[in-house]
């Protein structure tokens, strides 16, 4: 898989360490290593899956990739001029505001200008199938409606590198199908994507390449099926132990 890659490297992590002191710990006790020497390359146009159990540093790694957090040591380099954005459901909705206002605010926070954001609104209204509820305060929404609004708003953002954190669990079965199809369409194009999940099925379906993260380290990297096989074995072992 490697070697032959003459594709452009969009994002590269070199020996990235990230640790923090758990609260009120004294001196070196309580140092928690979230990322422990992670190196990886992300190539243009690929969909890279990151799989691992809860609490192994997946979200932190995405935050480092998105530039939200800086590592303690190591290097994060992004291809000059490219933007990356973390796509997460529900960019902190304000419950007292309408779906429309929330969508406008979310789109602007993701980097759209006010005019662009306003241009997205009808598209968001249509895709999310919220209808008249789009004008109602979000506090009146069911959780399914909320995630539909969140997913749609996030999907509209146009960025070079899309970092997705467990985004596909939106809404009911019908909407989930539609969301997955829309996501696939984005992914199959030129879009560079990093997709984080603990659901193997989604990773299997969507990703060209996968990385398995365990205790802040890269446990395996390469072909999606092979990486998933290793991961499944570990999960099974853990299940029989307990």
């Amino acid at each position: 898989m490697s070697g032959a890659d003459d594709r452009r490297v969009m994002l590269q992590l070199d020996e990235v360490y990230l640790s923090y002191h758990s609260s009120k710990a004294t001196f070196d006790h309580g140092v928690h290593r979230v990322l422990d020497g992670v190196s990886l390359q992300l190539f243009e146009g690929e969909t890279l899956g990151i799989i691992g159990r809860n609490g192994v540093g997946k979200t932190t790694m995405l935050r480092v990739m998105a530039g939200i957090l800086a590592p303690n040591s190591g290097k994060v380099s992004q291809y000059p001029g490219k933007t990356s954005s973390l796509l997460t459901i529900g960019l902190g909705f304000k419950p007292d505001l309408s779906g429309r206002d929330n969508a406008l605010l979310s789109a602007m926070l993701q980097g759209a200008s006010k005019r662009q954001a306003k241009g997205y609104l009808e598209e968001i209204k249509a895709f999310s199938e919220l209808g008249d509820s789009f004008e109602e305060p979000v506090k009146t929404y069911s959780s399914g409606m909320r995630s539909r609004l969140g997913f749609t708003t996030a999907l509209i953002s146009h960025v070079d590198i899309l970092l997705i954190d467990e985004a596909l669990s939106a809404g009911d079965a019908q909407f989930r199908g539609k969301a997955e199809a829309a996501m696939k369409e984005r992914i199959s194009g030129d879009q560079t994507v990093v997709f984080v999940s603990h659901m193997e099925g989604q990773v299997q379906k969507l990703c060209d390449r996968a990385i398995w993260l365990e205790n802040g380290k890269v446990a395996a990297e390469g072909d999606t099926a092979e990486v998933l096989a290793g991961y499944q074995q570990l999960v099974k072992q853990a299940a029989t132990k307990s």
Binding site: Y20, H21, S23, R63, A66, G67, I68, L69, A70, S85, L86, T88, L91, G92, K94, D96, L97, D101, L104, L105, M108, L109, Q110, G111, S113, K114, P137
Partner: protein, 258 residues
């Protein structure tokens, strides 16, 4: 983020906050003037009805000081906690962290425009007449704004660093309320040296006094003093703002992890 987009995002956040806030209460936007008026009423009852202030112009005197002070204290208090309050957003997007306090300040600014209009109306009712001297309000309000931004940025950094500062800032505001001459006159302390010292040490006392000098006595403010406070506040804004820009990821880490 380009400056124009930053400004437009900040303004949109402020307007959305105002709208959300208004929709939460039965009286909605009326609270913009009702809240400051109630504050004034409480102080009026305590310091003029119960404790005799021995001033005929006490209401005008009180409003000039109190309304500007509420602007300062509410803005600084809320802005200081704003980054922490938005920790959900901080974990999801890499935005300049100064955006959160500045949006809160912008929100306060919109409200304050209404409050100042109310203040002018009351002053006119009491027979105070605008003069050319009132133009001095423009730089005074400007310096007041710079003081709010400077204190808010410092406060926001401190709260990110240690949440406990939030308590301290709240207490500081109460301390300032008592020491800035809101319900008593800094110029009537009996000892001119004491007045000088207080105005020099507490810029807020100076600003509140400047409002009164202009609005009630048609006296221009001490320009040199105003300039020093303005430049000082501006310098703090620039230095802390730049530090926050450089330490953007550091602040995120403090908010998210510690």
């Amino acid at each position: 983020m380009p400056p124009l987009q930053y400004a437009s995002l900040m303004d949109t956040m402020a307007r959305m906050n105002l709208r959300a806030d208004a929709s939460r209460y039965f009286f909605g936007y009326i609270w913009w003037v009702l809240e400051p008026l109630l504050y004034v009423a409480v102080f009026y009852v305590v310091f003029n009805v119960i404790l005799d202030s021995r001033r005929l112009d006490f209401l005008a005197f009180l409003m000039c000081g109190k309304l500007a002070f509420i602007w300062f204290s509410k803005s600084v208090n809320q802005a200081s906690n704003s980054i922490l309050a938005n920790r959900g957003l901080v974990g999801k997007i890499n935005v300049p962290k100064t955006l959160f306090p500045l949006a809160v300040i912008q929100e306060g600014l919109y409200k304050q425009v209404t409050v100042f209009l109310l203040l002018f109306a009351v002053l006119l009712m009491y027979g105070y007449r605008p003069s050319a001297t009132w133009l001095a309000l423009v730089p005074i309000v400007g310096v007041n704004y710079l003081m709010i931004v400077a204190c808010s940025l410092v406060g926001a950094c401190l709260v990110c660093f240690m949440r406990d500062f939030s308590m301290v800032i709240g207490l500081m505001m109460i301390f300032l309320m008592f020491t800035s001459g809101i319900f008593w006159d800094v110029r009537a302390l009996g000892d001119p040296a004491k007045t000088e010292l207080l105005l020099a040490v507490n810029p807020l006392a100076f600003i509140l006094d400047a409002y009164r000098q202009v609005l009630m006595y048609n006296q221009a403010p001490d320009w040199l003093h105003l300039g020093v406070v303005g430049i000082g506040s501006g310098a703090v804004c620039l230095i802390v703002g730049r530090a926050m820009h450089r330490g953007n990821q550091f602040l995120a880490r403090r908010v998210l992890i510690s």
